[in-house]
């Protein structure tokens, strides 16, 4: 793919947070491009859809940065590969020099399997689309570098909290060396993984992972839980069902997301089949009393029930004209179901659907009468295509209290309580119902999708952020002079009682601990100091040219002190530092004591 290629990559690399995009990390590529090939947007989209529909869908949602030429198309493809439900920022800088013309393309780094391969893949995909090569040959390229291979709708869910955090001025960044994201700095840095943060304690999470232990614990405190019996084989399952009384639920005690769960089992044969299905995913199976009522999700954050949704199980409603199959297809044609930024999933049919249809005397070809509700699954999980309805305002205080008590007893700060009730507006003490599961990592979409529901992502963001203070961050721009100035500032701040993280010259020290040093000019130095959980202030000497070429290493700074007025790239570096919030200060004169006091005053509350 040389010669006629629409873009040719001359050089590429990664940019740490604090670069021309602002406070976010990015990928850059310097490219040469050809005007010979016109880019047909429609054809590019159709070709990409054959490679990966989610990438094509993201491409369609990614706005064109400036003139729509080959460079812009290349940047958009790169962004689409990593987008995961959010349009990524793009900067394009075309320039012509005596040596020829080139463009610098910077794309925000999204969620990617291998970011370092994204730019090359984007160039090759664009060339292949223009050349009309078979799409099938490029699926591996996308999988090798693009967004992680999880369901698009989950990827989208993962972007919701970071988006809310960013809107509150607290951009989340990838955690160093572990899964999850960080928000806050130094001693105030907080790790979170989707909805799990510091408040999701090991003890509560361990109990929540075992549905049997969880039920036993809650029932000890008088909370309503279904009777549950562990069973080792199909015979035991049948006996347990007899002892509990039909209908019953069969489920694995240690799986989540509705895997292997079958509810509403009315007789022994169904129980035996359900046991076999559950046993395929787990060795710990329980038979459980079937609580009567509708399936609700009550979400508790920080001791309060903040949202409740009724989950309507996957179903279609007959119209007297269309077959079950046609009704399912009509529902799934809704663009909200499926796609890179959808919040609902398509209705899925499996063995349980066959069973439920048969029990209702139907097949996929039957035409149900108008108004007849045809259930496709008994469990109301979003992953099976369930549809939520917000009921936050109508939950009876006793039911709300039961959810709050359950979360507290489990030791979970944030929990999703699955609550069965014939009428969520009436007390469980009066009409029955109860808690059939406590989730330590509750999904957000169930409330986000429910019409009129509260913005759960916002509530989570507030909760994660609550005690996440920022620490003072000082960049000292320059060469050798900057090192001396940085050391002097660090010493003065340490004098005022702050545990300082310092990067200067050959020093990389976090609150007294010498860290492994990637070397002067490497943005990882700043990243490490800001992520260090004992640091109360960061002072880093950075060459301006390094800030421009590789990024600062963090998306925020308080002060950028210019220690060497003549340093190369100083103007561009100060622009970047100012854009991420730094007050640019002339530091060529002797150290200003007042400045140090002002910086130290930004100390986080301990």
């Amino acid at each position: 793919m040389n010669g006629a290629a629409p873009v040719r990559i001359l050089a590429d690399g990664r940019l740490a947070a604090g670069n021309r995009l602002g406070g976010i990390a990015g990928l850059w590529a310097r490219v040469a491009w050809s005007d010979a090939t016109a880019i047909d947007e429609g054809a590019l989209g159709r070709w990409l859809a054959e490679v990966d529909p989610n990438v094509a869908s993201e491409l369609a949602l990614t706005p064109a940065p400036g003139p729509a030429d080959a460079v812009a198309a290349f940047a958009r493809v790169a962004a689409a590969l990593m987008a995961s439900g959010r349009s990524l920022a793009i900067v394009i800088d075309r320039e012509t020099t005596p040596a020829g013309r080139s463009a610098l393309v910077i794309v925000e780094e999204g969620r990617a399997v291998a970011p370092e391969r994204v730019m090359a893949a984007a160039a090759d995909l664009l060339a292949a689309a223009v050349a009309g090569l078979p799409a099938a040959g490029f699926r591996d390229r996308v999988a090798d570098c693009g967004a992680p291979p999880i369901k698009a709708f989950l990827r989208y869910a993962y972007t919701l909290i970071p988006a809310r955090l960013a809107a509150r001025g607290a951009a989340a960044r990838p955690a160093l060396g572990q899964r999850g994201s960080l928000v806050g700095e130094g001693v105030g840095a907080r790790l979170f993984l989707f909805t799990m943060g510091r408040g999701t304690g090991a003890l509560g999470a361990a109990i929540a992972a075992r549905k049997d232990a969880c039920a036993a614990l809650l029932s000890r405190f008088g909370l309503p839980v279904p009777r549950q019996l562990p069973v080792a084989d199909a015979d035991a399952a049948e006996a347990a069902a007899g002892a509990i009384g039909y209908p019953v639920v069969v489920k694995p005690a240690d799986r989540s997301g509705g895997a292997g769960v079958a509810a509403g089992l009315a007789h022994a044969a169904e129980v035996r089949q359900a046991f076999a299905r559950a046993a395929a995913v787990s060795r710990r199976i329980v038979v459980e009393e079937m609580l009567r009522g509708e399936d609700h999700r009550l979400t508790v954050i920080g001791g309060r029930m903040v949202a409740a949704a009724l989950r309507v199980p996957p179903e279609v409603v007959g119209d007297g004209r269309r077959s079950v199959r046609a009704l399912i297809d009509a529902v799934n044609a809704d663009p909200q179901r499926g796609g890179s930024r959808s919040m609902l999933l398509p209705l899925v049919c499996d063995g349980e659907t066959d069973r439920l249809l048969a029990a209702a005397g139907l097949t996929f070809a039957s035409v149900p009468p108008a108004g007849m509700r045809v259930r496709l699954h008994s469990a109301a999980n979003l992953t099976m295509g369930a549809r939520p309805v917000d009921v936050t305002a109508s939950v009876h205080p006793d039911n709300r209290a039961a959810a709050v008590h359950a979360a507290a007893i489990m030791g979970l700060d944030l929990a999703g309580i699955d609550f069965i009730s014939p009428d969520i507006g009436r007390s469980w003490r009066e009409i029955g119902g109860g808690i059939c599961e406590v989730n330590r990592e509750p999904g957000l979409l169930v409330h986000q999708v429910a019409e009129g529901g509260p913005d759960m992502a916002e509530a989570c963001a507030r909760h994660i952020l609550a005690p996440a203070p920022l620490v003072p961050i000082v960049a000292v721009l320059g060469g050798g002079d900057a090192d001396a100035a940085a050391q002097a500032i660090a010493a003065a701040m340490a004098e005022s009682g702050l545990a300082v993280g310092l990067a200067a010259g050959r020093h990389l020290v976090a609150a007294g601990l010498r860290l492994s040093d990637p070397g002067p000019g490497d943005p990882l130095r700043v990243t490490r100091l800001v992520a260090h959980p004992a640091v109360e202030a960061v002072v880093a000497a950075v060459p301006p040219a390094a800030v421009v070429a590789r990024g600062f290493g963090h998306g925020r700074a308080d002060v950028a002190l210019v220690a060497e007025p003549g340093a190369p790239d100083l103007a561009a570096a100060t622009r970047i530092m100012a854009a991420i919030g730094a007050e640019v200060v002339d530091g060529s004169s002797p150290l200003d004591a007042d400045l140090v006091r002002r910086i130290a005053a930004r100390r986080p509350p301990s």
């Binding site: 060396g177 572990q178 790790l191 209290a401 007294g512 601990l513 860290l515 992520a531």
Partner: protein, 533 residues
């Protein structure tokens, strides 16, 4: 309870005819007790001979009566097993009260003491009999780590208790309660807990933060392990991926070594790490501070080296634990010389264990109780004294007094837990509607993490026969006729005062007694005695 031991020996017979357990806060002691009734004694009994046969266990002069000999035997067994009783008492001829220490050891000790004493009375003991009894008893106990923490909790007055299955040990009451799973605190983030289960993930995490670590990689086959060893220059150690249980690192250098070591790990994957420069030192980090260090020389018992380790080494251990976000961690460091500053020692992290066993530290340090207390303090995470106000109300007027007090507290914004004849409720939610007086309700209130004050009605007869279910209360209210001894018991359990309403029996003069004219007055007096929120 039924008879648990029966043995006849020679001319003296000692037989346990009944044992009964009383919940905490009973007429014998604040701790739970096991009461043993013995049928014993014959005229020509020779307790001295039995005492002599038990000499390795028992010191001092031979007790004159079988009951005392039994009590001494049970206490000595418990102490030898590592979990001393809180006390013993002879309350009547042949009636011995064994007071539980930090665990429920007394019941198990009673059984074994009965068997052992009967054997000693019967004749000379076969070699190893006493040791076997001690070992058997030790097996019924929680781990040494849990025992040390429970004892530390007792010393702090936190009424430590094992929680229901899977929920760890409980310290303190209600909203001030903290739960621990070994040395994993309730607030240890699950995300950290998961990371700490893999040496690979921990090493990646530390390395990404710039904390110096031993280089290591994960190998999923002997061939891959061999390649990893080659990358490390031909010498390496191989160990398990999970750090929880032992598994000493095995040095390897030849392909045969590698295959054998990989096989010995017995899992689908193993860690291949660069060979350490010397044996590791193990640092115990609790609440952000490195509180002890051990030299772990192979083939020798660990030696306390807290003072010998350089401050930089302690700092490195503290930071490794902080980056992994653990309340309590054991951090293994390796260095050329741990006593030198960081720049010279080349100290690196070889292992981080979140929620470690304390045994090696407790065995090696001079003041194990102080060490356990520091660890517990880290796990309690600022829970302070761990107490919520508790008021127990007895007598015919109890429901009215309890209701009035609960109402007053609720008016102050407290999340009150109430337990009585009509049921149990916490923070306005009715959880039970059956009889939850005394020991049927109070343990649930003190275990409930939302309750910030508790008022419990007491059934005098049940209290006398079985105990209260919790070792202490702040105020007892007696409103109505209650038997004198029951009133004395309530007074003994109350830390602050006893409020005496109409009909209450006279109280011992040492008790801080407050008189009240009616239920409303009694509730107001109890409220005032507890003090403001």
């Amino acid at each position: 309870m039924v008879a648990v031991a029966r043995a006849t020996g020679g001319r003296l017979r000692v037989e346990i005819v009944a044992t009964q357990s009383h919940a905490a806060g009973n007429r014998f002691h604040r701790s739970p007790v096991t009461v043993v009734r013995l049928a014993a004694a014959a005229a020509d009994a020779d307790p001295a001979a039995a005492h002599g046969r038990l000499a390795p266990l028992l010191g001092g002069p031979a007790p004159g009566d079988p009951g005392s000999l039994f009590a001494a035997t049970a206490a000595a067994l418990a102490a030898a097993a590592g979990d001393p009783l809180a006390g013993t008492r002879i309350v009547a001829a042949g009636e011995v009260v064994l007071v539980h220490g930090a665990t429920a050891i007394a019941a198990a000790a009673a059984t074994r003491a009965g068997v052992l004493l009967a054997a000693a009375l019967a004749g000379p003991l076969p070699a190893g009999t006493i040791a076997a009894a001690v070992t058997g008893l030790r097996r019924t106990l929680p781990s040494p780590t849990d025992r040390a923490l429970l004892r530390a909790g007792t010393a702090r007055g936190l009424s430590p208790r094992p929680g229901p299955a899977g929920s760890g040990s409980h310290f303190g009451e209600g909203v001030r309660m903290r739960r621990t799973l070994g040395t994993v605190g309730e607030r240890t983030p699950f995300v950290s807990f998961e990371t700490a289960r893999s040496r690979l993930l921990v090493a990646r995490l530390l390395a990404a933060h710039g904390v110096p670590v031993l280089r290591l990689s994960l190998a999923t086959s002997p061939a891959a392990a061999g390649a990893a060893v080659a990358r490390l220059g031909g010498r390496a150690i191989i160990r398990k991926v999970t750090p929880d249980d032992g598994g000493m690192p095995v040095p390897v250098s030849t392909p045969a070594d590698v295959a054998a070591a990989f096989g010995a790990v017995g899992e689908r994957a193993a860690i291949v790490a660069e060979p350490p420069p010397g044996p590791p030192w193990r640092f115990l980090v609790a609440g952000g501070r490195s509180v002890a260090a051990l030299r772990m020389d192979p083939g020798r018992a660990p030696v306390d080296a807290t003072a010998a380790a350089h401050a930089d080494s302690h700092l490195l251990a503290e930071r490794a634990a902080l980056v992994v976000a653990s309340d309590v961690a054991a951090v293994d460091l390796v260095a050329q010389d741990m006593g030198r500053p960081a720049g010279e020692s080349g100290a690196r992290v070889a292992d981080v264990r979140l929620g470690p066993a304390l045994d090696p530290f407790l065995a090696a340090v001079a003041a194990p109780e102080a060490l356990a207390d520091r660890v517990l303090a880290a796990l309690l995470d600022g829970a302070g004294e761990g107490r919520i106000p508790i008021v127990a109300v007895a007598g015919a007027g109890a429901p009215a007094v309890a209701a009035a007090l609960a109402e007053t507290w609720r008016g102050e914004g407290r999340r009150v837990g109430t337990a009585g004849r009509a049921g149990l409720a916490v923070a306005g939610l009715v959880l039970f509607d059956d009889d939850r007086r005394g020991r049927r309700g109070l343990p649930l209130l003190v275990d409930h993490p939302l309750a910030d004050a508790a008022v419990v009605e007491v059934d005098a007869d049940d209290l006398w026969r079985h105990g209260l279910g919790h070792p202490r209360i702040d105020v007892a209210v007696i409103d109505g006729a209650v038997a004198g001894p029951v009133a004395d018991l309530l007074a003994a359990l109350a830390d602050i005062a006893v409020v005496a309403g109409p009909g209450a029996p006279p109280l011992p003069s040492a008790v801080h007694a407050i008189a009240a004219a009616d239920a409303a007055g009694a509730a107001a007096a109890a409220h005032a005695a507890v003090g403001p929120r």
